[in-house]
């Protein structure tokens, strides 16, 4: 009993020491770059949306949004495929993860990674390893919102 307490104390002291020693990520530059890149991605999205509305004046605004998302998802998948998106991600952090382009990247990258294991066991099975939790939480959240909507 005594010994296990000793080990616990030792581990706690060691972990505290390590935490103090670890070089910290600089918060302000990271925040700046992520807002910069995230903002640029949003501007590109808005630009695409405006162009769609310009070229197809009869389109409803809501379907223009859907087409914008599809174009953004395609661009991000394409950039992932040619190995550019991970470089943007390294630089931007959350800025390129939070927009829908990050979601696209998180589905394309495992699909590329596991293509050698075959189409079904590789691509299809592993495709959602990273995006899976996002989809699950989205479905659960919409379910809860639906329930609330039903009773109000």
């Amino acid at each position: 009993m005594d010994k296990s307490m000793d080990i616990k104390k030792r581990n706690e002291m060691y972990n505290n020491y390590v935490q103090a020693k670890i070089p910290k990520t600089k918060a302000w530059p990271s925040l700046f770059y992520s807002f910069l890149v995230g903002g640029i991605i949003c501007c590109i999205g808005q630009g695409i949306n405006d162009l769609i509305l310009l070229w197809f004046p009869n389109m409803a605004e809501q379907s223009a949004w859907a087409y914008t998302l599809i174009v953004l998802i395609f661009i991000a998948s394409f950039l992932t495929g040619i190995g550019v998106y991970d470089k943007i991600g390294k630089f931007a952090g959350g800025g390129s993860i939070v927009p829908i382009t990050g979601f696209s990247n998180s589905i394309t990258s495992p699909a590329l990674e596991y293509k050698h294991e075959g189409i079904i066991y590789g691509i299809c099975v592993k495709m959602f390893t990273i995006a899976g939790p996002v989809i699950v939480s989205g479905v659960v959240a919409s379910f809860i919102v639906g329930l609330i909507y039903l009773f109000i």
Partner: protein, 375 residues
């Protein structure tokens, strides 16, 4: 003869051949000019990175046997290990050879583990010639332990870069070359670190434990060695080790360094440094072996560390245990008495020496290495 954890070899097995193979990023690092063979790309002409790792190990084993100037039929046993599940790279590489195979897993400490086991077997005169090898590949390790390569995420500053490379050496009871004189087998040590991005901190206590055991068992001090080198603690881990040893009353001087910390140059964006089986294996079988053969290093304590973790265990909330095995390498008697002008300077920071060496050697070597490429 043994004392607690340390075996002191009577017959002093000889390392008669060694070979190292690395990827292009490693070649651009500090040890670039010393490697035997550089791959053109990470795929090495194979369809997947796993297959590339197998081919790398095979190339290293064949290269070491050639370097030893023996026939493949003279080899009794192959000791090998790697980072992948079920050590597939090693076992699949071994199926193409016509000698017995023992698979080992010591994570990144596999090089010292295999050499210590091989030396023990040879010292007991059970087998005569044993090949030790290990390797790792950045892309396979990333897939196994972290995220897909193309995922746009950021690495924390404590993270390390898995070395793409493999090293192999041939150990024999007779011949000329550096000798293995002692081996300290390490215990598994866990100080409760559970951050998978901070392997240095998880493994440093194991390095401390083995180092203390080694100095205690052999009655040596850090000053007895020209070079004390850990495997892949990285920048952070080696700083922690220095602190831990100081707490124990042993001061590690300038003759201490870490392969991972020295591996890459500052602008290669590897944060804490190199890691993986290939890190210590390629440095030992290129740089350290060359210096031992020339007599520039007379006595080297080589002690790579390994983090014995799996993603399953860490996801279930387990901490990361570490292990460290140490071997002592001494240069051959014949070169021991050769005086080298740099002897007095040899303890000066390796890294600086590396850089100056590199600038002068790399240009002339560039052509040689390029012509060495097989494909």
């Amino acid at each position: 003869m043994y004392t607690n954890q340390t075996v002191i070899f009577k017959n002093k097995p000889v390392i008669i051949g060694s070979y190292s193979i690395v990827g292009p990023k490693e070649w651009k690092g500090n040890f670039g000019p010393y490697f035997n063979y550089v791959m053109k790309d990470d795929c090495f002409g194979e369809k997947s990175y796993e297959k590339a790792e197998m081919k790398m190990l095979k190339t290293a084993i064949v290269g070491a046997i050639e370097d030893a100037k023996i026939k493949a039929s003279d080899v009794n046993l192959l000791l090998s290990g790697d980072l992948l599940n079920q050590i597939i790279s090693s076992s699949y590489a071994a199926r193409d050879f016509d000698f017995a195979f023992l698979g080992l897993f010591g994570a990144c400490s596999t090089m010292a583990e295999s050499m210590a086991v091989a030396a023990s077997i040879i010292d007991g005169k059970e087998f005569d010639t044993i090949v030790c090898s290990t390797g790792s590949h950045f892309s396979t390790a990333e897939r196994q332990f972290r995220f897909p390569l193309e995922l746009g995420n950021q690495r924390p500053p404590t993270s390390q870069w898995t070395v793409t490379g493999a090293g192999a050496c041939v150990i024999s009871s007779k011949g000329v070359g550096p000798r293995i004189t002692m081996a300290t087998f390490g215990k598994v040590i866990d100080f409760g670190v559970n951050d998978v991005n901070d392997m240095g901190a998880a493994m440093a206590p194991a390095a401390m434990d083995t180092m203390l055991a080694h100095f205690r068992d052999t009655k040596t001090t850090p000053d007895d060695y020209d070079l004390i080198v850990t495997g892949d603690l990285g920048k952070l881990g080696s700083e922690i080790l220095i602190d831990l040893m100081e707490d124990q009353g042993i001061k590690l001087g300038l003759n201490y360094n870490d392969c991972g910390q020295m591996y890459y140059t500052r602008n290669q964006n590897t944060f804490s440094g190199g890691s993986g089986c290939g890190c210590s294996a390629t440095v030992l079988n290129s740089f350290i072996m060359k210096k031992l053969r020339s007599g520039e290093y007379k006595k080297v304590l080589f002690m790579p560390t390994g983090a014995l973790m799996s993603t399953t265990a860490t996801q279930q909330g387990e901490t990361i245990p570490g292990v460290c095995h140490a071997i002592v390498l001494e240069c051959d008697e014949s070169v021991k008495n050769i005086k080298i002008s740099q002897t007095s300077n040899r303890n000066v920071k390796n890294k600086k020496e590396e850089k100056t060496n590199r600038t002068s050697i790399s240009k002339s070597n560039e052509k040689n290495i390029k012509s060495n490429r097989l494909n």
